[in-house]
Amino acid sequence: MPVAPMTKVSFWLLGLVLGLSSCYYDNREDLYGSAGPCDTTAVSYTTHIKPLMDQQCVGCHGATAPSAGISLHDWASVKASVQGGRFVGSVDWQTGYSPMPKGGSKWTPCQISQLNAWVNKGMPQ
Protein backbone atom coordinates (compact mmCIF):
# COMPACT_ATOMS: atom_id res chain seq x y z
CA MET A 1 0.00 0.00 0.00
CA PRO A 2 1.49 3.42 -0.92
CA VAL A 3 2.47 5.64 2.00
CA ALA A 4 0.58 8.93 2.18
CA PRO A 5 2.83 11.95 1.42
CA MET A 6 2.19 13.54 4.83
CA THR A 7 3.16 10.34 6.59
CA LYS A 8 6.41 10.34 4.62
CA VAL A 9 7.08 13.94 5.64
CA SER A 10 6.33 13.16 9.27
CA PHE A 11 8.72 10.22 9.30
CA TRP A 12 11.35 12.35 7.59
CA LEU A 13 10.92 15.09 10.18
CA LEU A 14 11.05 12.66 13.05
CA GLY A 15 14.26 11.24 11.64
CA LEU A 16 15.67 14.72 11.19
CA VAL A 17 14.91 15.73 14.76
CA LEU A 18 16.31 12.50 16.17
CA GLY A 19 19.30 12.69 13.85
CA LEU A 20 20.11 16.26 14.80
CA SER A 21 19.67 15.53 18.47
CA SER A 22 22.89 15.30 20.31
CA CYS A 23 22.02 15.42 23.98
CA TYR A 24 24.93 15.76 26.35
CA TYR A 25 24.96 16.02 30.10
CA ASP A 26 27.99 18.28 30.47
CA ASN A 27 28.85 20.93 33.01
CA ARG A 28 31.63 23.50 33.04
CA GLU A 29 32.84 22.49 36.48
CA ASP A 30 33.62 18.91 35.53
CA LEU A 31 34.81 19.65 31.99
CA TYR A 32 36.94 22.68 32.65
CA GLY A 33 36.94 23.73 36.27
CA SER A 34 37.72 20.70 38.36
CA ALA A 35 41.14 19.86 36.96
CA GLY A 36 42.49 21.63 40.00
CA PRO A 37 41.30 23.84 42.81
CA CYS A 38 39.78 27.19 41.88
CA ASP A 39 42.68 29.54 41.25
CA THR A 40 42.18 32.77 43.19
CA THR A 41 45.83 33.61 43.73
CA ALA A 42 46.71 35.70 40.69
CA VAL A 43 43.37 37.01 39.49
CA SER A 44 43.54 39.95 37.13
CA TYR A 45 41.02 41.85 35.06
CA THR A 46 42.57 40.88 31.73
CA THR A 47 42.90 37.15 32.32
CA HIS A 48 39.88 36.36 34.50
CA ILE A 49 37.32 39.14 34.76
CA LYS A 50 37.19 40.54 31.22
CA PRO A 51 36.34 37.18 29.55
CA LEU A 52 33.50 36.80 32.07
CA MET A 53 32.27 40.32 31.43
CA ASP A 54 32.36 39.82 27.66
CA GLN A 55 30.39 36.61 27.90
CA GLN A 56 27.91 37.45 30.62
CA CYS A 57 27.49 41.21 30.85
CA VAL A 58 28.57 43.29 27.86
CA GLY A 59 25.65 42.17 25.71
CA CYS A 60 23.38 44.46 27.76
CA HIS A 61 25.92 46.55 29.65
CA GLY A 62 28.13 47.55 26.75
CA ALA A 63 29.59 50.93 25.91
CA THR A 64 26.57 52.10 23.90
CA ALA A 65 23.18 52.66 25.56
CA PRO A 66 23.96 50.30 28.47
CA SER A 67 21.08 48.77 30.39
CA ALA A 68 20.19 50.78 33.51
CA GLY A 69 23.00 53.15 32.54
CA ILE A 70 25.56 50.64 33.87
CA SER A 71 28.42 50.07 31.48
CA LEU A 72 30.79 47.13 32.04
CA HIS A 73 32.81 47.21 28.86
CA ASP A 74 36.26 47.96 30.27
CA TRP A 75 38.36 47.85 33.44
CA ALA A 76 37.48 51.38 34.57
CA SER A 77 33.74 50.88 34.14
CA VAL A 78 33.73 47.51 35.97
CA LYS A 79 35.79 49.00 38.79
CA ALA A 80 33.40 51.93 39.07
CA SER A 81 30.44 49.58 39.15
CA VAL A 82 31.97 47.43 41.91
CA GLN A 83 32.73 50.57 43.91
CA GLY A 84 29.10 51.60 43.42
CA GLY A 85 28.22 48.74 45.76
CA ARG A 86 25.63 46.78 43.77
CA PHE A 87 27.77 44.66 41.49
CA VAL A 88 28.95 41.79 43.68
CA GLY A 89 25.55 41.35 45.36
CA SER A 90 23.81 41.16 42.00
CA VAL A 91 26.23 38.62 40.53
CA ASP A 92 26.11 36.57 43.74
CA TRP A 93 22.28 36.74 43.75
CA GLN A 94 22.27 38.07 47.31
CA THR A 95 18.95 39.00 48.89
CA GLY A 96 17.96 42.56 48.11
CA TYR A 97 19.98 42.72 44.91
CA SER A 98 18.76 42.33 41.35
CA PRO A 99 20.11 38.91 40.25
CA MET A 100 22.43 39.06 37.25
CA PRO A 101 22.88 38.13 34.49
CA LYS A 102 19.26 38.65 33.50
CA GLY A 103 18.04 35.70 31.51
CA GLY A 104 21.23 33.78 32.27
CA SER A 105 22.60 31.31 34.77
CA LYS A 106 24.29 32.28 37.98
CA TRP A 107 28.07 32.42 37.83
CA THR A 108 29.81 29.29 39.06
CA PRO A 109 31.16 29.29 42.65
CA CYS A 110 34.68 29.47 41.22
CA GLN A 111 33.85 32.52 39.12
CA ILE A 112 32.30 34.27 42.10
CA SER A 113 35.32 33.38 44.26
CA GLN A 114 37.62 34.81 41.60
CA LEU A 115 35.54 37.99 41.45
CA ASN A 116 35.72 38.36 45.23
CA ALA A 117 39.48 37.71 45.19
CA TRP A 118 39.92 40.31 42.47
CA VAL A 119 37.91 42.88 44.42
CA ASN A 120 39.80 42.14 47.64
CA LYS A 121 43.12 42.67 45.85
CA GLY A 122 42.08 46.13 44.73
CA MET A 123 40.82 45.17 41.28
CA PRO A 124 44.16 44.99 39.42
CA GLN A 125 44.25 45.40 35.67
Binding site: V17, D26, N27, S34, Q55, G59, S67, A68, G103
Partner: protein, 272 residues
Amino acid sequence: MRNAWLSLLALCPWAVLAQFPLGEELGHQSLRIVNQQAASGPGEGHLEFFIQHRFGDFAQGAYNAFGLDQSQIRLGLDYGLSDRLTLGLARSSWGKTSNGYFKYQLAGLRENRHWDLTWLSDVSVNGEASNVWGLEPFYYSHRLRYVHQLIVGRRWTPRFYAAVVPGVVHINLVDAASDPNDLLTLSAFARYRVQPHINLTWEMQNTLPSVSGAALTSPPMALGMEFIEGLHIFQLSLGNALSMNEAYISTANQGEWNAAHLRVGFNIVRRW
Protein backbone atom coordinates in the same frame (compact mmCIF):
# COMPACT_ATOMS: atom_id res chain seq x y z
CA MET B 1 -17.78 50.17 -13.96
CA ARG B 2 -18.15 46.80 -12.34
CA ASN B 3 -14.37 46.49 -12.02
CA ALA B 4 -14.25 49.90 -10.38
CA TRP B 5 -16.80 48.77 -7.77
CA LEU B 6 -14.84 45.60 -7.17
CA SER B 7 -11.66 47.61 -6.70
CA LEU B 8 -13.37 49.82 -4.15
CA LEU B 9 -14.72 46.77 -2.40
CA ALA B 10 -11.22 45.32 -2.22
CA LEU B 11 -10.05 48.46 -0.44
CA CYS B 12 -12.74 48.45 2.21
CA PRO B 13 -11.65 47.11 5.59
CA TRP B 14 -14.28 44.38 5.77
CA ALA B 15 -12.99 42.83 2.58
CA VAL B 16 -9.47 42.87 3.94
CA LEU B 17 -10.51 41.52 7.32
CA ALA B 18 -12.38 38.74 5.64
CA GLN B 19 -9.06 37.32 4.52
CA PHE B 20 -7.88 36.74 8.05
CA PRO B 21 -9.46 33.84 9.92
CA LEU B 22 -11.36 36.02 12.35
CA GLY B 23 -14.07 33.42 12.45
CA GLU B 24 -11.59 30.98 13.87
CA GLU B 25 -11.50 30.14 17.51
CA LEU B 26 -9.39 32.24 19.85
CA GLY B 27 -6.79 29.52 20.10
CA HIS B 28 -5.97 29.86 16.43
CA GLN B 29 -5.85 33.58 15.96
CA SER B 30 -2.10 33.93 16.19
CA LEU B 31 0.75 31.51 16.68
CA ARG B 32 2.26 33.39 19.60
CA ILE B 33 0.82 34.86 22.76
CA VAL B 34 3.77 37.11 23.65
CA ASN B 35 6.75 34.75 23.74
CA GLN B 36 4.89 31.52 24.33
CA GLN B 37 3.86 29.32 21.41
CA ALA B 38 0.12 28.85 21.00
CA ALA B 39 -1.31 25.46 20.15
CA SER B 40 -2.17 26.22 16.54
CA GLY B 41 -0.28 26.43 13.28
CA PRO B 42 -0.93 28.69 10.31
CA GLY B 43 -2.71 25.95 8.37
CA GLU B 44 -1.67 23.98 5.29
CA GLY B 45 0.25 26.00 2.75
CA HIS B 46 0.25 29.17 4.83
CA LEU B 47 3.35 31.05 5.81
CA GLU B 48 3.78 33.45 8.73
CA PHE B 49 6.59 35.92 9.09
CA PHE B 50 7.03 37.41 12.54
CA ILE B 51 9.14 40.17 14.03
CA GLN B 52 9.52 40.25 17.81
CA HIS B 53 10.99 43.30 19.46
CA ARG B 54 11.79 43.93 23.13
CA PHE B 55 13.04 47.23 24.45
CA GLY B 56 15.21 47.85 27.48
CA ASP B 57 13.66 48.08 30.93
CA PHE B 58 12.22 51.22 32.47
CA ALA B 59 15.16 51.44 34.91
CA GLN B 60 17.26 52.93 32.13
CA GLY B 61 15.68 56.25 32.85
CA ALA B 62 14.97 59.30 30.78
CA TYR B 63 18.44 59.44 29.21
CA ASN B 64 17.74 56.13 27.44
CA ALA B 65 14.06 57.00 26.87
CA PHE B 66 13.09 54.45 29.57
CA GLY B 67 14.44 51.59 27.51
CA LEU B 68 13.45 52.62 24.02
CA ASP B 69 17.08 53.26 23.04
CA GLN B 70 17.83 49.58 23.49
CA SER B 71 16.27 46.69 21.69
CA GLN B 72 16.44 42.97 21.13
CA ILE B 73 14.97 41.55 17.97
CA ARG B 74 13.88 38.15 16.76
CA LEU B 75 12.82 37.29 13.23
CA GLY B 76 11.18 34.07 12.19
CA LEU B 77 9.11 32.10 9.74
CA ASP B 78 6.41 29.50 10.35
CA TYR B 79 5.10 27.30 7.58
CA GLY B 80 2.14 24.96 7.71
CA LEU B 81 3.04 21.68 6.02
CA SER B 82 -0.47 20.58 6.87
CA ASP B 83 -3.25 21.88 9.09
CA ARG B 84 -1.64 19.91 11.92
CA LEU B 85 2.08 20.13 11.21
CA THR B 86 4.04 23.40 11.39
CA LEU B 87 7.73 24.02 10.80
CA GLY B 88 9.45 27.11 12.15
CA LEU B 89 12.78 28.88 12.08
CA ALA B 90 13.84 31.96 14.02
CA ARG B 91 16.89 33.98 14.92
CA SER B 92 17.31 36.14 18.02
CA SER B 93 19.83 38.87 18.57
CA TRP B 94 19.93 37.85 22.26
CA GLY B 95 22.71 35.27 22.47
CA LYS B 96 22.82 35.24 18.65
CA THR B 97 20.54 32.26 18.98
CA SER B 98 18.86 30.45 16.10
CA ASN B 99 16.19 27.85 16.61
CA GLY B 100 14.16 25.44 14.54
CA TYR B 101 11.09 23.58 15.62
CA PHE B 102 8.15 21.52 14.59
CA LYS B 103 4.72 21.63 16.12
CA TYR B 104 2.14 18.91 15.64
CA GLN B 105 -1.47 19.38 16.62
CA LEU B 106 -2.63 16.06 17.97
CA ALA B 107 -6.19 17.20 18.53
CA GLY B 108 -7.83 20.53 18.32
CA LEU B 109 -10.47 23.06 17.71
CA ARG B 110 -10.29 22.59 13.96
CA GLU B 111 -12.16 19.38 14.67
CA ASN B 112 -14.78 21.39 16.60
CA ARG B 113 -13.43 20.25 19.93
CA HIS B 114 -13.10 22.44 22.97
CA TRP B 115 -9.61 21.13 23.59
CA ASP B 116 -6.30 21.67 21.82
CA LEU B 117 -3.49 19.22 22.28
CA THR B 118 -0.23 20.09 20.54
CA TRP B 119 3.31 18.76 20.70
CA LEU B 120 6.25 21.13 20.20
CA SER B 121 9.90 20.15 19.74
CA ASP B 122 12.56 22.80 19.35
CA VAL B 123 16.34 22.91 19.05
CA SER B 124 18.26 26.13 19.74
CA VAL B 125 21.80 26.92 18.71
CA ASN B 126 23.70 29.66 20.51
CA GLY B 127 25.76 31.43 17.84
CA GLU B 128 28.17 33.42 19.98
CA ALA B 129 31.81 33.13 18.94
CA SER B 130 33.64 30.33 20.72
CA ASN B 131 36.23 32.71 22.23
CA VAL B 132 33.40 34.56 23.98
CA TRP B 133 32.60 31.37 25.88
CA GLY B 134 36.16 31.25 27.19
CA LEU B 135 36.28 27.45 27.07
CA GLU B 136 39.18 25.52 25.60
CA PRO B 137 38.67 23.07 23.96
CA PHE B 138 35.24 24.21 22.82
CA TYR B 139 32.65 21.73 21.55
CA TYR B 140 29.78 22.55 19.21
CA SER B 141 27.40 20.56 21.40
CA HIS B 142 27.79 23.24 24.10
CA ARG B 143 25.67 25.53 21.95
CA LEU B 144 22.60 23.30 21.87
CA ARG B 145 19.45 23.34 23.94
CA TYR B 146 16.26 21.39 23.36
CA VAL B 147 12.68 22.11 24.29
CA HIS B 148 9.73 19.72 24.26
CA GLN B 149 6.31 20.96 25.25
CA LEU B 150 2.78 19.65 25.37
CA ILE B 151 0.36 22.52 24.89
CA VAL B 152 -3.01 21.74 26.42
CA GLY B 153 -5.52 24.46 25.66
CA ARG B 154 -9.20 24.85 26.20
CA ARG B 155 -11.77 27.26 24.90
CA TRP B 156 -13.82 28.03 27.98
CA THR B 157 -16.18 30.44 26.30
CA PRO B 158 -16.21 31.97 22.79
CA ARG B 159 -14.31 34.89 24.34
CA PHE B 160 -11.89 33.10 26.65
CA TYR B 161 -9.17 30.58 25.92
CA ALA B 162 -6.54 29.31 28.35
CA ALA B 163 -3.80 26.71 28.25
CA VAL B 164 -1.21 25.02 30.42
CA VAL B 165 2.08 23.91 28.94
CA PRO B 166 4.14 21.27 30.74
CA GLY B 167 7.55 20.83 29.16
CA VAL B 168 11.18 19.93 29.50
CA VAL B 169 14.25 21.95 28.55
CA HIS B 170 17.50 20.08 28.01
CA ILE B 171 20.69 22.15 28.35
CA ASN B 172 23.76 20.41 26.99
CA LEU B 173 26.20 22.44 29.06
CA VAL B 174 25.32 23.79 32.50
CA ASP B 175 27.63 25.68 34.81
CA ALA B 176 27.93 23.76 38.05
CA ALA B 177 28.09 20.00 38.53
CA SER B 178 25.04 20.29 40.78
CA ASP B 179 22.95 22.05 38.09
CA PRO B 180 20.45 19.78 36.34
CA ASN B 181 20.74 19.46 32.55
CA ASP B 182 17.04 18.66 32.27
CA LEU B 183 14.61 21.21 33.64
CA LEU B 184 10.93 20.52 33.91
CA THR B 185 8.92 23.61 33.08
CA LEU B 186 5.33 24.66 33.48
CA SER B 187 3.90 27.55 31.50
CA ALA B 188 0.43 28.92 31.06
CA PHE B 189 -1.28 31.45 28.84
CA ALA B 190 -4.70 32.93 28.24
CA ARG B 191 -6.41 35.01 25.61
CA TYR B 192 -9.56 37.07 26.10
CA ARG B 193 -11.44 38.62 23.23
CA VAL B 194 -12.41 42.19 24.04
CA GLN B 195 -13.68 43.07 20.60
CA PRO B 196 -13.77 41.08 17.38
CA HIS B 197 -10.32 42.38 16.40
CA ILE B 198 -8.79 42.97 19.82
CA ASN B 199 -7.62 40.38 22.35
CA LEU B 200 -6.01 40.67 25.74
CA THR B 201 -3.30 38.10 26.43
CA TRP B 202 -1.35 36.85 29.43
CA GLU B 203 1.44 34.30 29.80
CA MET B 204 3.98 33.07 32.28
CA GLN B 205 6.72 30.47 32.32
CA ASN B 206 8.51 28.77 35.18
CA THR B 207 10.60 25.79 36.13
CA LEU B 208 9.24 23.21 38.55
CA PRO B 209 11.41 23.79 41.61
CA SER B 210 10.95 20.51 43.41
CA VAL B 211 12.45 18.53 40.55
CA SER B 212 14.63 21.11 38.81
CA GLY B 213 16.71 22.66 41.54
CA ALA B 214 16.06 26.15 42.82
CA ALA B 215 12.92 28.04 41.81
CA LEU B 216 13.35 31.15 39.73
CA THR B 217 13.14 34.29 41.81
CA SER B 218 11.91 36.25 38.79
CA PRO B 219 10.00 33.97 36.42
CA PRO B 220 8.96 35.57 33.16
CA MET B 221 5.45 36.90 32.81
CA ALA B 222 3.83 39.22 30.30
CA LEU B 223 0.58 40.98 29.58
CA GLY B 224 -0.34 41.80 26.02
CA MET B 225 -2.90 43.25 23.72
CA GLU B 226 -3.24 42.09 20.14
CA PHE B 227 -4.83 43.88 17.23
CA ILE B 228 -5.87 41.80 14.26
CA GLU B 229 -6.00 43.75 11.03
CA GLY B 230 -6.24 42.11 7.67
CA LEU B 231 -3.43 39.64 7.29
CA HIS B 232 -1.42 41.37 10.00
CA ILE B 233 -1.43 40.99 13.74
CA PHE B 234 0.14 43.60 15.97
CA GLN B 235 0.85 42.53 19.54
CA LEU B 236 1.89 45.00 22.23
CA SER B 237 3.27 43.60 25.46
CA LEU B 238 4.58 44.54 28.88
CA GLY B 239 6.72 41.96 30.63
CA ASN B 240 9.96 41.22 32.43
CA ALA B 241 11.55 38.79 29.98
CA LEU B 242 14.61 39.74 28.00
CA SER B 243 14.89 36.54 26.01
CA MET B 244 12.28 35.54 23.44
CA ASN B 245 13.66 32.08 22.80
CA GLU B 246 11.79 29.06 24.17
CA ALA B 247 14.95 27.36 25.41
CA TYR B 248 16.10 30.32 27.47
CA ILE B 249 13.01 32.10 28.66
CA SER B 250 11.69 29.60 31.18
CA THR B 251 15.00 28.53 32.67
CA ALA B 252 16.59 31.77 33.82
CA ASN B 253 15.76 34.70 36.02
CA GLN B 254 14.42 37.73 34.23
CA GLY B 255 13.79 41.26 35.50
CA GLU B 256 11.85 41.54 38.74
CA TRP B 257 8.17 42.28 38.55
CA ASN B 258 8.36 45.91 39.51
CA ALA B 259 8.00 49.06 37.47
CA ALA B 260 11.75 49.53 37.07
CA HIS B 261 12.42 46.17 35.46
CA LEU B 262 9.49 45.82 33.11
CA ARG B 263 9.99 46.34 29.41
CA VAL B 264 7.73 47.14 26.51
CA GLY B 265 7.72 44.92 23.45
CA PHE B 266 5.81 44.22 20.31
CA ASN B 267 5.34 41.45 17.78
CA ILE B 268 4.35 42.02 14.18
CA VAL B 269 2.94 39.05 12.30
CA ARG B 270 2.18 38.81 8.59
CA ARG B 271 0.40 35.79 7.19
CA TRP B 272 0.31 34.58 3.61
